[in-house]
Subunit: 369 residues, 2 copies
Amino acid sequence: MKIKYELIKNDNKARYGRLITNHGTYETPMFMPVGTLANVKMLTPEELKDVHSAVILSNTYHLWLRPGEDIVKKAGGLHKFMNYDGPILTDSGGFQVFSLAKNKKKDITEEGVHFKSHIDGKNLFLTPELSIEIQNKLDSDIAMSFDECIPYPASYEYAKESTERTLRWAKRGKDVFNNENQSLFGIVQGGEYQDLREYSAKKTVEIGFDGYSIGGTSVGEDKKTMYKMIDDAIRYLPIDKPRYLMGVGDPTDLLEGVERGVDMFDCVLPTRLARHANAFTKHGKINLKNAKYKEDFTPIDECDCYTCTHYTKAYIRHLFVANEGLGGRLLSIHNIRFLIKMMEDMRNAIKNDKFLEYKNEFMKKYLSK
Amino acid sequence: MKIKYELIKNDNKARYGRLITNHGTYETPMFMPVGTLANVKMLTPEELKDVHSAVILSNTYHLWLRPGEDIVKKAGGLHKFMNYDGPILTDSGGFQVFSLAKNKKKDITEEGVHFKSHIDGKNLFLTPELSIEIQNKLDSDIAMSFDECIPYPASYEYAKESTERTLRWAKRGKDVFNNENQSLFGIVQGGEYQDLREYSAKKTVEIGFDGYSIGGTSVGEDKKTMYKMIDDAIRYLPIDKPRYLMGVGDPTDLLEGVERGVDMFDCVLPTRLARHANAFTKHGKINLKNAKYKEDFTPIDECDCYTCTHYTKAYIRHLFVANEGLGGRLLSIHNIRFLIKMMEDMRNAIKNDKFLEYKNEFMKKYLSK
């Protein structure tokens, strides 16, 4: 079965809806934690469920290299391999090819991308067909089309050429797609150019996918440009399909995204920040290594997560100062829960036509320091 | 309240008993996981309970340096600080001074030991009184006397001098001990010399403690010597007090120790091995990085732990090959459970007068490869 999206209620452009998958039905808008290598770093699936995670992400490029999609397939697919019975979304590898390719050298041809492995420098060649074939084998719930993530800034000519190629790649990927229990999303590109975003969105919708991603953001552009890139794409997307803003997880960006009608977000931010001792709080980010937490025997935040209900800032600081991995694990739990709780609060706000109120209140506190 | 030990049943010298603490009553013989820096690396207290941990260890020397015993005291003691409501045993720091002191340079005087911090090379001075004072503040259930761990080999003269000094230190520590909810163990030293072991054991018992540790093993001596060092100490220890063999956790050594009447063991082995991809199995240790596990979709061992009931060797191998911390976490759970399950099996064997039978059967399988 393909995923289904049901729009339940709008509050202006913000959408409260429902995503029906082969691994459960979940409310949107939602934040999806990233499990690059078939695990969300340091955490078990049970811990992800404890913080009310729904869809989690995994990375086609990484799993292609290690352990290889054939091993995952032999294990019975990604869910079984990693012991997660919730929905899994795999990206296409497109973004990683552009961000991780050794020395960032790559050769983009019509057929695909030649580049070097970030692990051992080995020559690799990824094509739209291969990306889909790998994802079909991984057997995630949602697969992504192979795209080029256009750098920022990029010339109009380059952005146009790339956008058109990504459309051809999307079509090629769809043509070879072969997994009836998996859904396929198209990705809108177009760089920072309004007309290219419109063109990319319309043409991607024309090809027809189970959902639509907004790509090419969070690549160095300023916030205003990023929000405009979302606006310039999202208005052309059908209301009966989920919209997924890729790689975005900063709390303020989540609010701006939801306000514009985005349903799904993913980002490594909560776990990456956690490993560097940073925690989200309602009053902004804090770094637990700070000496002022030495004797602070209160939790990180008013929060219902395992970390905040069991540990103090002083203890977590101690773990980081002493270089103990448990610190990153505890903060990962908190940071993911923080973003997921934000989404719960946003959904409630939308239900009550109070999204803007919620957003303004959150922003005021979060940016107060 | 001080801890109490009740001997329930002997099977030859092997003892089945009960340890009554302020944080619960537990059966012996038992294996105690090590949480050096107020956490068993990567694991939560809930996970320790899941594998049926009872007493866990923490390290006075490490906590003295980070975060400092005063912070732990302000947090309400070690249990509250680290969120563990089972019993905690703290060592005296003696062993760490000898194994971790920067460049292993140390100056042992009658008063105490001058040495350099393993973290920043700072000059430190630890005395029997200070070790006890720190442990009183940490408020563990069981504290250890400050001792010198005699290197192996050592001359008779050196071992004699050191053993006598350790006895004086034990007395000094007991004299300043000031925590009525904490118990204090004496440590038998004496190096590899039978008469010194006897002397140390008898004199330590004369001073009088709530339990007795057998120290100075696992410092490079061969197995035969180690077992003799246990024999030469344990025969002089009172039957109504627990006997604790320090720093020993190899499965075969646990069996040899229990056979000789040891009640308690601790070792970093299960967690350290885990971080290096090694797992205990009934058929010996295996390394999960081995290519032969690439497509092995069976659990590590026939085992009731979370890891073995949820994950395959192929998945855990993938985590290690991809350098994902979850691998070490999952193997830590398994390895600790393995040793704790061994102790459960040994207790059952003792109850049924079948200890030797169990031991021989275990050894046959474990050493079969």
